[in-house]
């Protein structure tokens, strides 16, 4: 039965796992996603899920087990973050290259060194070219909704691509919120059955999975793989709409907040977007024409749609919760800036890195950004294109 519950991010993911009951779950504990693994284990112990729960000796093996299981043919998931995702790195590319729609729940966390257990996007941003679809969540409700949709998106026959669903470590994974948990049967109906095209367990057939390509085939196979993620936008949209029709919450590539007549804008993902919206409300009350755009899907990057949404603004700040040392801006910034390149009329763009290692970002920091954007909008001049927020220099 549909129910309103008070759950944190990890608990909502675990609820979704219980409802989906994937065939194989292989996961390794790491703060702050550990609770997902523990709750799943207790669900298994109490017979609430019937899939196999494998407890490997590392994340590298967890992803390898997922790859073996998904090649065998069935629905597969894991949960991890940070060092765990980093340890999986080699296998992430292989999961994508083998076209296995594994779903990973990621409680986004900073990467060592220095070791830090708190939330930022360094882990998943480091995996942005691994071939996985990446969806980011603002709160527990979105984490739950995105996680359910991830199976439908990845498993679509035109897509067959793994999906990672991010939600900020501690800020979301450990904060209790009011969450609408849908009816078990309705969730099961929504995700439906998955029929993998090449299951190894169908031993009446014979095929070789993961052969070696030389210079004569590798490129074509990689092109095929890219086509899978290129096919995904249509599916992401369809699934997001169907989710809305079924459960009342519709999803697209991003959320626009008070952008209609906005002259200045802030682009920010995940939990910080919640704080950003509060700041926008306060600034709007002061008569400032500001809006916020929260990307939900980072891979595939919805460059055309984002550019269309931003093109009329005068100045836009892109806020990144990760850095790309030595690059011309952090990951989200470079994507947004590149998306706008072909527009003759486009906003001035600045980039702020914020919140590394879980450093707080507050309404006042958004206001600080808005102040700078206003100045840029009136003068047309950018003094500092790449900066940091809430950092002691």
């Amino acid at each position: 039965m549909k129910a309103t519950k008070i759950l944190n991010g990890n608990q909502t993911i675990a609820e979704a796992v219980r409802q989906i009951d994937p065939d194989v779950i292989a996961a390794y504990p790491i703060t702050p996603s550990t609770a997902i693994v523990e709750i799943i284990a207790s669900f298994r112990a109490d017979g609430l899920i019937t899939g196999e729960f494998v407890c490997p000796e590392s994340e590298h093996s967890a992803m390898s087990v997922c790859i073996g299981a998904a090649s065998a043919g069935g629905r597969v998931m894991t949960a991890t973050c940070s060092q765990g995702l980093a340890l999986m790195w080699e296998m992430l590319y292989i999961a994508a290259g083998l076209r296995l729609p594994i779903v990973a729940a990621i409680a986004n966390r900073a990467l060592s060194a220095p070791i830090n257990i708190h939330g930022d996007h360094s882990d998943t941003m480091g995996a942005r070219d691994s071939g996985w679809i990446q969806i980011y969540s603002e709160d527990s409700q979105e984490a739950y909704d995105n996680f359910i949709q991830a199976f439908r998106i990845g498993e679509h026959p035109d897509v067959l691509t793994p999906v990672m669903v991010g939600f900020d470590g501690f800020i979301i994974s450990h904060s209790a919120e009011v969450v609408q948990v849908e009816d078990d049967a309705a969730v099961k109906r929504f995700i439906g059955d998955f029929k993998p095209p090449y299951p190894l367990l169908d031993t009446n057939r014979k095929f070789t999975v993961g052969p070696i390509d030389f210079t004569d085939y590798y490129f074509e196979h990689k092109r095929n793989q890219i086509e899978g993620i290129e096919n995904s936008p249509r599916v992401i949209e369809e699934v997001g709409k169907e989710f809305g029709r079924t459960f009342g919450r519709t999803y697209g590539f991003f959320e626009e907040y008070r952008t209609d007549d906005a002259e200045i804008g802030i682009v920010v993902m995940s939990s910080a977007a919640g704080t950003g919206k509060d700041a926008v409300d306060e600034l709007r009350a002061e008569g400032k024409k500001i809006g916020l755009l929260k990307p939900r899907v980072f891979r595939p990057f919805p460059y055309r749609q984002i550019a269309e949404a931003l093109k009329k603004m005068k100045a836009v700040a892109v806020l990144d919760r990760s850095s790309s040392p030595g690059a011309f801006g952090a990951p989200l910034f470079t994507e947004v800036r590149s998306a706008l390149y072909d527009y003759e009329k486009r906003p001035k763009l600045v980039n702020y890195v914020y919140g590394l290692g879980g450093r707080d970002i507050k309404v006042e920091h958004f206001k600080e950004v808005a102040g700078k954007l206003e100045k840029i909008a009136t003068t047309g001049k950018v003094d500092e294109m790449l900066g940091y927020l809430n950092l002691r220099e």
């Binding site: 043919g73 292989i94 031993t203 070696i212």
Partner: protein, 312 residues
């Protein structure tokens, strides 16, 4: 009842001709035999290495059964995943309860002794119903002959080369078989391709036990060992006759030696035909030859004691 070669020859090959392995390579010998040791369908999970690379150059494959490769260090975890899915789908009634499939993970010594030991240990400890076969050719052959922890004492490899100041590899080979015994799994064995019946029996037992089983098979590699490839089987025989590679099995913790040479030959006889040990026959390396003989003697003695304690 002893299996007859004639009957095995009637069976369909699961690893067929047309692969690109070197003339005289031990790998096809080993796996053609092992793959015959069960009538059930097999899914093979293969680590990166000579076997994987030489049999699956796209768009061709030498595999006449289900086969998967994902990476170098994780054949055990990959096979474990396939096995877990099999269990899950049976449990959910999506696969008939009486359906039988065997899961075979395969890696070289590099993929098993070295980079894959963690995932192997994990899969064995978790008790997956898989058979892991290490084909131990004592070297990273696929990448051109670098040392592994299975490279024997004194051997020259490209990353432990013999030189005017070096007698080749100065470390002793890791005893992986014993490490697997320490996992308390139902079946662990060492085998060699020259005793095909023993290899067949061991593979059969490994497939039949419930839970994990591990086979460590000495694998001839004329390319890296540098010997006349027509003499491979004789060389494997010498490894057993000198006790450099004893054939034994450990069933539920009980050791049994499957081959005791009537007269244990000096280890020299195993070393001499191989170019990788040539430098040991220079005067200044005589001490190394002695050291090798000592190690072999001690290990053989220890193994005999273990078999004795086991009552075999």
């Amino acid at each position: 009842m002893a299996v007859k070669l004639k009957d095995l020859a009637q069976m369909e090959d699961k690893l067929v001709a047309g692969h690109g392995m070197c003339l005289g390579c031990g790998i096809p010998l080993i796996f053609k035999m092992i793959l015959r040791a069960t009538e059930d369908p097999i899914v093979v999970a293969n680590a990166t290495g000579c076997l994987e690379v030489c049999t699956t150059i796209f768009p061709r494959t030498a595999w006449n059964c289900m086969w998967v490769h994902s990476a170098f260090e994780n054949a055990a975890a990959t096979a474990a995943g396939v096995e877990a899915m099999f269990k899950a789908l049976k449990n959910k009634g999506k696969i008939p309860a009486d359906k039988k499939i065997k899961f075979l993970a395969v890696g070289g010594d590099g993929g098993t002794y070295d980079i894959g030991i963690q995932s192997l240990s994990g899969a064995m400890e978790r008790g997956h119903d898989i058979v892991y076969v290490c084909y131990d050719n004592n070297v990273y052959a696929n990448t051109g002959g670098q040392r592994s922890s299975a490279t024997p004492l004194g051997a020259s490899a490209t990353t432990s080369p013999a030189g005017s100041k070096s007698p080749g590899k100065v470390q002793k080979k890791k005893d992986l078989t014993k490490i697997l015994v320490a996992h308390n799994i139902p079946y662990v064995a060492q085998a060699s391709p020259h005793r095909w019946q023993d290899l067949y029996n061991k593979a059969k037992k490994a497939f039949e036990v419930e839970g994990p089983a591990f086979l460590n098979v000495l694998c001839l590699c004329p390319t890296e060992w540098k010997y006349d490839e027509s003499q491979g089987i004789k060389l494997a025989q010498l490894a057993a006759d000198t006790c450099a590679w004893p054939l034994y099995e450990v069933e539920n913790g009980k050791y049994k030696i499957n081959y005791k040479p009537k007269e244990k030959k000096p280890v020299l006889e195993w070393l001499k035909p191989q170019g990788r040990f040539r430098h040991l026959f220079k005067e200044e390396n005589a001490w190394m030859l002695e050291a090798i003989q000592k190690e072999v003697d001690r290990d053989w003695e220890d193994l005999n004691k273990l078999a004795e304690i086991s009552g075999a």
